[in-house]
Each structure stands twice: as structure tokens, then as C-alpha cells.
């Protein structure tokens, strides 16, 4: 805090390094132009794909590169960007002891393909993404909310959803109080 003002402003974009190796080669070989970026940041590699290529890529990586463990699926909301959301898949390979991230941009109302046929564990993770961001997955076996009540309206982790905001209609109907605040 007590440093003198720096003459060069910190870069406002992520300072990434290129990601080379067999896995990005494999990705480019199979998906070509659908692979938009392969870089790494803080020694953590990630690839940006187009949305339709995502689930096929997961399947390919599972079958051919041994990425047999889907760690997490989540999303990030960038209200100023179009497409608005970024879907993040984290994969791990027990054989390679490697962890990678796959990312794809998702627009409002777009329906990405569900990864449940590839990884069973995607079921709840995708439900949570739907619950929190309102991204619906096509072909999901059980497209319900998971953490919020089924009748809740609004998607809490979107940036335009305030921290004290709530579905007052639901609160009044179900809890018998005026407001949760």
C-alpha cells in the first residue's frame, strides 16, 4: 500500500503464456478451428473452445488422453460481454496427473449440450449452473433447480442480482414473513 505510484499500469488482461504439449495438439487435431485459444496462466493450462465443440472435446479427452475425472463445472457472468457467460469445465487425468480447464462462451438463452452422458458427475454440477446462472443444458436428464427452491425466480449468481435481493413472492408465500431482510 505504501509503495510509490507505479509508472506502468498493471495489465488489465490476463498475462498468459502459450500452452504447448500433446494435449493441446490433440485438441487442435480433432477440433481445428473450434479451438480458439490454448494458453496457460500461473502454470495452469486452459483452452477456449466454441460451445458446440465442448462436449465432444470432453469425450475425446476422456477416451484418448485419459482425462477421466470431471472436477467441476461452473460459469462466470460477464454482463458487458456478448456472449454473456463463460462456462468452465475443470478436468483431471489420474494417469497423467494433470489438470486442465476448458472454457466456452455461452450467450443468454443458448442451450449448451449436457455432459452427463460423458461424466455422470456432471448431473448436479450442471443443475447448479442452471440454478445459479440460468444456463439450461439440453439433454440433461433432470433439469431442476438444486439449491434454490423449485419455484424460485431469478438466478442469484448473475451480476445483476443484488446481494440482498430475493424472490419476495416466494418468501411471503412459503415462509409467512414479509421479507427475509
Amino acid at each position: 500500500m505504501a509503495e510509490e505510484p507505479k509508472p506502468v499500469k498493471a495489465p488489465a488482461v490476463m498475462a498468459t503464456a502459450p500452452w504447448e504439449g500433446p494435449v493441446p495438439d490433440l485438441l487442435r487435431e480433432h477440433f481445428g478451428a473450434a479451438v480458439l485459444e490454448t494458453s496457460s496462466y500461473l502454470e495452469q493450462p486452459f483452452a477456449v473452445l466454441t460451445l458446440p465443440a465442448m462436449v465432444p472435446a470432453l469425450e475425446m479427452l476422456q477416451a484418448e488422453a485419459g482425462f477421466d475425472y470431471l472436477v467441476d463445472i461452473t460459469a462466470v457472468d460477464y454482463p458487458k460481454r456478448t456472449p454473456r457467460f463463460e462456462l468452465v469445465y475443470i478436468l483431471y487425468s489420474h494417469g497423467r496427473n494433470e489438470r486442465i480447464r476448458l472454457k466456452a462462451a455461452v450467450g443468454l438463452g443458448e442451450k449448451p449440450l449436457s455432459a452427463v452422458p460423458v461424466f455422470l458427475g456432471a448431473n448436479w454440477l450442471e443443475r447448479e449452473v442452471y440454478d445459479m446462472f440460468g444456463i439450461e443444458f439440453s439433454g440433461h436428464p433432470d433439469p431442476r433447480r438444486i439449491l434454490m427452491p423449485e419455484e424460485w425466480t431469478g438466478f442469484p449468481l448473475r451480476k445483476d442480482y443484488g446481494i440482498v435481493e430475493m424472490d419476495n413472492r416466494w418468501v411471503q408465500a412459503n415462509l409467512g414473513i414479509e421479507s427475509g431482510q
Binding site: 495489465p11 496427473n97 455422470l120 448436479w124 433447480r145 434454490m148 449468481l157 442480482y161
Partner: protein
Amino acid sequence: MTALDNTLDNNEMVLNMGPQHPSTHGVLRIVLKLDGERVKSTDCIIGYLHRGVEKIAENRTYVQFAPYVDRMDYLAAVSNGLGYCLAVEKLMNAVATPRAQAVRVILTELNRIASHLLWLGTHALDLGAITPLFYTLREREAVLKIFENYCGARLTTHAFRIGGLQYELYEGFEKEVEAFCGQFLPKVDEYEELLSGNRIWRERLRGVGIIDAETCKRYGVTGPVLRAAGLAWDLRKSQPYSGYEQYEFDVPTRSSGDTLDRYFVRLDEMRQSVRIIQQAVANIPAGPIMAKIAKVVKPPVGEAYVSIEAPKGELGYYIVSDGTTHPYRLRVRPPSFVNLQALGHMSKGALVADVVAIIGTIDIVLGEVDR
């Protein structure tokens, strides 16, 4: 609930378990579809303890959010804190000092013991063995006392800070920890005497809730459940953090992946934790406890995913920074949440009474499932 599948065959019945049911370990509601006494399908309804931790994170500074992570898996608050601190340190490209790392290892391993002890006591209680609970809670008390002496809180400790530690070790810390380790190993043998040799316990658990390693991978199941299925995968070994590579320890595994094996794996893990603690406490490096980081935590634009081996499995933090003092997005990858998904697979065809054993053996904490 409108969306529940309400169609039933002639000889099916629906049983609602929870959310106020002592053996669901919190506010978990399970809708069981039964054929007689056999479970045909399960539907977990969660979210009763949802507090929106990820939303809170976006509205707090990095430093301010640290106490909140203790409240997810409140039985392993120290592990949660370690994972969070490591994730933010990764974003800032900082590393804790050797002294801080050693203390962190000691406290997290103590926390693993405390978490497994509470699991053992309550799991045995669920299945009708009341005595072990008193003994495990007594030993856990000793761990909590060490936490209290060190950082002033027993459960939601807030023991670590980004960049290192807030508190220097107190006088007699090493002695207290060593004394605990010394008297704890015989206690584990005592639990074995009470339970492992007990034929009711063995017959009750053997062959219940079987899951193999391949299915574990497909569900993303980690932690003791995965190791009981035969895969020796432990993040402390495969991707060491906080100086775990310096310590010698084994990753206990079993092969059949049933409830009894998970019990044995956790008992062995407690013994291994004692081994790690004894090595770590024997030579805690001298030096500062806080790395040189800026007073205002403000990571550069970027993102990182850091995960640790929490008592329940892989606990990960995915943080996106936009260069301000607040996280732009913070995602917690909770082990309990992902492991709980496998409940449906494990309890298919089991008896209703076995569902209680299976829930207990996954070792879920609803604070972490719901966040």
C-alpha cells in the same frame, strides 16, 4: 414439489427421509422409492442450508471472505481456510514462509483427525453403537483445545491468513501436539477393539454401499470413498502443496469399496496424519510467519484453480480476479456435494436401514453441500 417424479408402480412406496432426521447428518432430505424394504431410487433434495457463499464472496474483499470459508465444512474449518489461502496466494504469485507452511500442515492434519473422529463417532451412533461417540469426542476435544490455544476459536477457527499466519505459536505448542500424538495412537487401537472386532459392526457394514473405482471416477468421487475403492489417489501425494512433499506417509487404500472398507481407510488415515504431524512438529523451521505481500490483497487480473485434499475429498477454489480487492467470481468445488451424487448408485437395491449407513459413510457436511 411439483417436479418430483410422482409416478408409482403398484407395489412401490415413497418414503421421505429428512430434512429433520438425525441420521441424515444435517438438513438433507431424501425421497426414497421403495419396493418393500429395498430401495429402487433415491432423490436428494438439498439446499436447506444454502447461504450463497459464492455470492457473499463477490461482495467481500479477499481478506474479509476468509472467515466465511470456515462455515462451509465446519468440521474441517482449518482445511477450508488452507485451501482458500493457497488459492489467493496462487493468484498473487506468493508463497507462504516455511514456518507458516509447517504450522499449516500440523493444524490441517489435526483437523483431519478431528473431522474423522466426529465422523467415526456419529457413524457408529447411527448404526447403534453408542459408546464410541463418547471416546471420539473426548479425543476431538484435545484437538479443539489446541486450536483454541493457538488461534482463540475451536470450530470456525479462521486460523490462517492470506500469505501466512496471523498468530505466532504459543508456548508449549509443540509439547502439546506431541503429547496428543503419543496418546492418540493407542486410542485408535481402542476404537478398533470396540468396532473392528465386533461381529455386529462387521456384518452390518460388509458389502453395503459398494462402489468401484471406475464408477467413482465417473461420478467425480474423491477422498476416502475413492481410496476405499482401491485407487490410491491423494492430492497431498500427487500434487503436493504447502510442503507435503517433505513428509513421509502412506495413502491407505482398500479394495472392495464397501462401507466397512471406508471405515478402515479413515482409521488408517488418522494414523497417517499422526505420522505427518510428528514429522512436522519435530522440526518447525524458524523464521517469519507472514510472507511479504502487499497489505491490501489485490491480485492481478487472472484466474486460478487450487485444490487440496480435505478430509472429505478434493476441495477446490476457482477464483477469477478482475484486479480489484474483491473476487470477481469465487467458485468452491465442495467434496461433499460431488460425493453425495453417488448415493443413488450406492444405495440402489439396499435396505432402508443401509441407506443410513451409506449416508454416514460418504461423510457429508451439509454446510458444504449447500454452501
